[in-house]
Amino acid sequence: MNGVHDMGGMHGFGPIVRDELVFHSDWEKRVHALRALSRRLGIFNIDEGRHAIERMAPAAYLDATYYERWADALETSLVDKGVLDRAEIDARVVAAAQVGTTATGPDRELPPVRANELLPRAAGPAPRFRAGDAIITLNTHPAGHTRLPRYARARRGSIDRYYGNHVFADAHAHGAGEQPLPLYCVRFEAAELWGPSADGRGAVYLDLWESYLEEAS
């Protein structure tokens, strides 16, 4: 989706503030843990979790801290999956504020760690491209999750290396299964991406699935 999360090349965010902290308070750690454990439990996958962040209203996204976005996305994902509903969360927020406590239930064992979503898959199509091949990315504007950033659409690049078949995030984020596809590292010259605004000799490397790419003549 052409969301505000797709930030590469945007202007106006000012200098980089050197905040070295990983977390700023304990609740952020618990949100991080809740999302990690929800994934381990198979409630939602990593791509659904990312897309939940991207679907925040743009103004809310920009106004939130990093872990406020994570908390928002955690709630969205749990509601989407029918694990919780908004009304019961609202009610619990009110109740917790009144009695000053959060209820707990009995502890139980977690299931074993699930198969990794992130490593290459054995299955999938044979790769169409080889290192050195010239490609051009699609000019495409999908409304759903994608890993082809706006700044690299309809741009010419070259295949740097092939990474094997990987779970296709664009499908996996929308409940369409893994649909593994060849994933490549693609090199784009800075001048191809940014024209005269490029700030010198350089290139950007992006990891792109084969379905984003066409052979360049």
Binding site: R18, V22, K29, H32, L193, L206
Partner: protein
């Protein structure tokens, strides 16, 4: 500020400290979600505590620094690291990376820089969790379009002849920068070399430190 408001921030599981201020909306909702998940038997407080403890005990960038130091002293290891970092890091006793990991090497002619413009992808297996600035809108938006300006703000000036390669971690692969070994370090041990390798150097916004800087 007054503590006389109507929130009592004692909880029946330990969040580590008391809160002198009212909860933010996000924190209040996160607590409500946790309590509901526990109450429904979906998660346990102990499991959340254990996950939090794992972050707190993570040695973070020290792992990556050991990888880089080994690469500096052992050319055969460096070759294996550059060919297949995912598995090479196991040779120095690290957990296998959950993501495919790729090491990219700085040279006198090439400088590498890692970013994630779409979210916050980062090589956790070797660097731990990312600092806030790495996840900031300013870094995410600027690193791909004006990497030299960004690097100069971090205090790293590059000659115009150096090619800057920006790795935008857009899919499942994570990137680790192997900085150049500083001159004058021939006599240092692997541990001493690791102390020269900062997290920032492995993201690509700094060089490895000179020995005098750590002495």
């Amino acid at each position: 500020m007054s503590h006389g408001h109507d929130h009592d921030h004692d909880h029946d599981h330990d969040h580590g400290h008391h809160h002198p201020e009212p909860l933010t909306r996000a924190e209040a909702r996160a607590r409500a979600i946790e309590s509901l998940l526990v109450e429904k038997g979906i998660l346990t407080t102990a499991a959340v505590d254990a996950q939090v403890a794992a972050y707190e005990q993570d040695i973070g960038p020290l792992k990556g620094a050991r990888v880089v130091a080994r690469a500096w002293v052992d050319p055969a290891f460096k070759a294996r690291l550059l060919a297949d970092a995912t598995h090479a890091i196991e040779e120095i006793g690290l957990e296998p990376s959950a993501n495919q990991l790729v090491a990219v090497e700085n040279t006198p002619d090439v400088h590498n820089l890692v970013v994630c413009t779409l979210c916050s992808c980062y090589p956790w297996a070797v660097l731990g969790l990312p600092p806030t600035w790495y996840k900031s809108f300013a870094y995410r938006s600027r690193a791909v379009v004006e990497p030299r300006t960004v690097l100069s703000e971090f205090g790293l000036a590059l000659d115009d002849s150096v090619e800057v390669r920006v790795w935008d971690s857009s899919a499942e692969v994570r990137y680790l920068v192997v900085p150049e070994r500083p001159p004058g370090t021939g006599s240092l041990s692997e541990d001493e070399l690791a102390a020269l390798v900062s997290r920032d150097a492995m993201i690509g916004v700094a060089r490895a430190k000179a020995p005098a800087a750590v002495a």
